[in-house]
Each structure stands twice: as structure tokens, then as C-alpha cells.
Symmetry: C2
Subunit: 93 residues, 2 copies
Amino acid sequence: MSLAQLEYFVVVAEEGNLGRAAKRLHVSQPPLTRQIRALEDELGAPLFARTPRGMTLLPAGRRFLTHARDVLERLDRARGAVREASDIDEPTS
Amino acid sequence: MSLAQLEYFVVVAEEGNLGRAAKRLHVSQPPLTRQIRALEDELGAPLFARTPRGMTLLPAGRRFLTHARDVLERLDRARGAVREASDIDEPTS
DNA sequence: CGCGCCCATACCGATTGGGTATGGGAGCGC
DNA sequence: GCGCTCCCATACCCAATCGGTATGGGCGCG
């Protein structure tokens, strides 16, 4: 599992559609297909139902979505914590 | 930034030493050197002080450590959430 | 000074990841 | 039913990433 996969997953879940998600992520659609599938394989359960209209979250996917967002948010805070620390050393540099 | 880098960082911080951390992580020492440096480069601040005795956390590193552990813990919960969900579908299979 | 313990660098091979091109299913208008 | 459109999936290729071995350089200790 990679952080990119988590972000891809969140965006695909939000867009409900690989094509639009790909544009938002500035990647092409095939890598998205692969990464989402790799994520599902690793987790051992499908996260989306593939319909002719797009990708819709399954129950497992809904549960995972909350946690995935949580992980990404905590990651942002981690980055922020380092910036704060260096701000202490170099206040207004 | 990658999840592997976060885990590498946590273990190096705990061991205070690249060699021991490498053993615990089942990788060799050079990749650790590189990944830790890449992490520092991306964050824009050094996390460790390199001494002849090993690697000791700097203030920025200490702050980051807490958050890094948090991210990894949330990731475990995310995995767990999917397992729970599939347990509902397949209780004791 | 020779040895041990550190981390850093150089180089190489294997894996991963993204891109283009293409296919196949499902709905819609005519 | 044909053609058009909008989906996702697959095949194939190239570039970037990652990990491993080999090696070097600093530092302390007997």
C-alpha cells in the first residue's frame, strides 16, 4: 500500500468515476485502474462496484474511505509539525 | 514521502543507529541512509544529527516522530476497518 | 597504527509506476 | 440495428524508484 494509492482511492470515491478522478490527480486513467485494483488485492476485498456508469463504493469501501482520509490528514499534520519546529529555529527567515 | 520512509524513520529513531535499524527492517544499511535523507530533503529540515555514535533525533525529528507513529497507527486501523467490513459479509469463513 | 563501529557514496540489477494505444460492455438517438 | 459516447480493463513500453553489494572516510580505543 502506498500513500498515492490512498489519495487515488479517496479521489475516485469522491468522483465516482475513474476518468474525472484521473484528471483531478493529473494522471491517466489506466494507472488508476491498476492502483485501485492493487489496493483491493492487498486489502483482500473489493472497495468499489464497477458499473457501466462508474465506480460506486461498496460497504467495505465506505469504511475504508473515512480511515484513508484520516491517514492523509494526519500526514499533513506531520509535515506541519516539522515546519513549526523549523519556524522556531528560524522565525521569519 | 512514502509509508516505507515513515516506518524507516520511526525505527531509526528508536534504534538510534542505522545498522540495527536495518536489521530490524530486513533491509541493508545504504537504502536507509538514502530514504532518511530523502525524507529530510522533502521536509526541508534535518531530523537527525549524525554523530560518530549513531543518529540522534533533532527537535524537528522528535516532533515528527509522534506524528509519524500516528499516521502508521491510523493506517493499521484503516486495514482493520476493511477486515471488519468483510467479516460482516463472511462472519466465520 | 590497526581494528571496530559508525554513516555516506558509487554503481548495478530488479521492481514499480505512468503513458499511449486499444478493446469490450452498456446506454442513447436515430 | 447502427453509430456514437461514456465507462473500465488490458497490453505493451519506457522512465523512475528501490534495494543490494562493494567501498570509502571519520572517529575512538587499545
